[in-house]
Symmetry: C2
């Protein structure tokens, strides 16, 4: 107990952030109290600004502060292939690999019966609409869909569901490969990853 | 690069917090963007409120939102002994042990020549004034001073300096004991702590 209502309120709000427990929240609150150069004011303003300016892209549901996001905007990207991800942050991971130059679609989560998240809670209908009506609604263009979802139970469930919905539409459908990460020691790879790596072996 | 100015600004400000790197800041910013129930607004308000309401206690320099802090206010505490700490957070640690019922004095740091922090940057003159003029300025009352500073180089330097300043004033001067923590395995104690534990052994 800090016995100072404003300080307790700040600790309470900070400890809602993921990975920040009450002890860390208290340390951060003390840091904020002792900080100079108007830091709390600038952080406070940044919080309000991000909420006011950033919204979902109406096409792909990535975050943007413009009418449509930069990946939907860029004219030299292929309208024929679309990469489906769970979260906006995943796009950056794929972009920095430089291996994909098509468009994106953000589901904003994955199917999770345990957490009560079903297909209707995700941007799945919107993905089907894009497949039927094209990347920007101007007639069908999509020929390939790459599913880049997390390699966990929720990701697998979502891939299963999406495969059923998207099959029979004449699309090239794929999921990103699972296997041994580049630069890693074979000795340290877990059984399931090694199983996948053997199963999906590439002929030389 | 997020390519969204408001989001980049928030990540930039969040990553100034201690222990929060750019990657964690980005994860927190995405959490904030996706959060519901007006969370960013409430966090923003809490930041401004803590800055507006919380200030140093004019007597002991603990944080407070009142005229004087609760430990200076409480009438049943002894005005004869004062416990000197580095930071306001240290007071709670001592309070929850229940082993001290006197007053506090917060130095707001420790002497560190490497970081350019000298005695004048700390609330040391204010401590000497309290020794000379009493806990609240109504004539001398203090008979005992307990130094509860961190067990590091800066803490030791500060204790050395304070001892020189406070000696010869007829005060009972002490520092908190260093030794083996309660409940710990002797096998895992470092050499310096074990050296202190042996040196400060208590006769039975």
């Amino acid at each position: 107990m800090l016995h100072i209502s404003a300080l307790e309120k700040l600790v309470h709000e900070m400890s809602r952030l993921p990975g920040i427990g009450p002890k860390t929240a208290q340390r951060l609150a003390y840091f904020i109290l002792k900080s100079e150069n108007e830091f709390p004011e600038r952080l406070s303003e940044a919080l309000l600004r991000v909420r006011a300016e950033v919204h979902d892209c109406p096409r792909c549901f990535n975050f943007t502060d413009a009418d449509i996001c930069r990946y939907c905007e860029e004219p030299h990207r292929s309208d024929e292939s679309i990469c489906v991800v769970e979260e906006p942050a995943d796009i950056m991971r794929i972009e920095s690999s430089g291996a994909f130059r098509g468009r994106y679609h953000v589901l904003h989560g994955a199917i999770s019966p345990l957490e009560g998240i079903g297909p209707k809670d995700l941007k799945i209908q919107e993905l089907l609409d894009r497949v039927n009506n094209g990347i920007d609604g101007d007639g069908p263009t999509i020929k390939e869909i790459i599913l880049a979802l997390d390699a966990d139970l929720e990701g697998d469930t979502t891939i299963l569901y999406l495969t059923k919905q998207l099959q029979g539409k004449g699309l090239k459908l794929s999921r990103i490969a699972h296997g041994v990460p580049i630069g890693s020691d074979i000795d340290f790879i877990d059984d399931r990853t090694m199983g996948r790596a053997l199963q999906n072996r590439v002929e030389l």
